[in-house]
């Protein structure tokens, strides 16, 4: 919980306060700060040879193919509760430099992309998801509401209203809250 509050606070910090190009610790398991060059790839394509030219146009999970040929799953961005596809899709099949955190546990090693820099370009924080979500959902991209997108998202609200936050039905939620 404390860690998540730190992360959310980090997202809400004005850009000029937080460093814009260096990995920030989230105290995750097996954490390693890392900066490396890689090609942005469509993971399904790398595994199966099913390769749309646009890396799936944002539908698919994206990976980072490093110079050793290791395929790294880009799992997380800098925004709360959001993945990396929306941050990387415009760089499909292009080389970028990424900065962020590896987390390793139970044999799996995945990467949180906190910052990305295209070749010849500038560093940017990986929170484009928030503006995209705001635009898709008619929310002011300049406002703060987008930072709590996960509580406002219509897809999420529909599921939680129907199934409850426990997923076991509204009656189970009521029982839980009565004892809370």
């Amino acid at each position: 919980m404390r860690k998540w509050l730190l992360i959310i606070a980090g997202v809400l910090l004005p850009a000029h306060i937080a460093s814009v190009d260096a990995a920030q610790s989230w105290n995750v398991t097996g954490e390693e700060e890392a900066r490396f060059d890689a090609k942005v790839v469509d993971v399904l394509c790398e595994l199966t040879g099913d390769c749309p030219a646009d890396c799936g146009a944002g539908r698919r999970q994206l990976g980072l193919l490093d110079d050793d040929g290791t395929l790294i799953l880009a799992t997380k961005n800098f925004a709360p509760f959001a993945g990396a596809t929306d941050e990387l899709i415009e760089f499909c099949q292009q080389r970028v430099t990424v900065d962020g955190l590896f987390t390793s546990n139970r044999g799996a090693r995945i990467f949180a992309v906190q910052f990305v820099r295209p070749e010849g370009g500038d560093w940017r924080r990986t929170n484009r998801f928030l503006n995209k979500w705001a635009e898709t959902n008619g929310v002011d991209p300049a406002g703060k509401a987008k930072n709590t997108w996960f509580k406002r998202d219509p897809r999420v609200k529909e599921i939680i209203e129907r199934d409850g936050f426990l997923g076991l039905g509204p009656e189970e939620d009521k029982k839980f809250l009565a004892d809370y």
Binding site: L71, G107, I110
Partner: protein, 151 residues
Amino acid sequence: MRATMLLASASLAAWIFGASSAVAAGQRIQLTGELVDTWCYISEIMGGSEAVLGSAHHQCAVWCAAGGIPVGLLSEAGDLYMVLKLGGDDTSNANPRILEIQSSQVTVDGELHERDGIRYLLIDEILNNDGIVNRSHEDFGVIPAFGVPQQ
């Protein structure tokens, strides 16, 4: 000329075999397990992995799936598989169908690929869905706690 042709043939063969070495045939597999939020499970950013499964973490798992974090299948053997496809649909970034069944215990038939320490699963068919059977809120409450609605 002959040497040039041999060299060209060798280059072509190297290109073909080099390209094909990166794409391996998948292995047919049937698995039973829980659909989980892979980021919270691996990173343990909210606490131990056991706390971010089942009903305790269902709401957050839906948030993360909607945000495009990969959904995984945690098998009964404790192995984690990243889901990249469901029933012919290659949407693995916030797939609405996966959102609907997040945290459920399912039995699936699909194709397994492994690369660089990660297991990837292309689900062809969900053979059974028992819904959410892990009542982890009884042990852990709601994770994260700020997900509990204010009364």
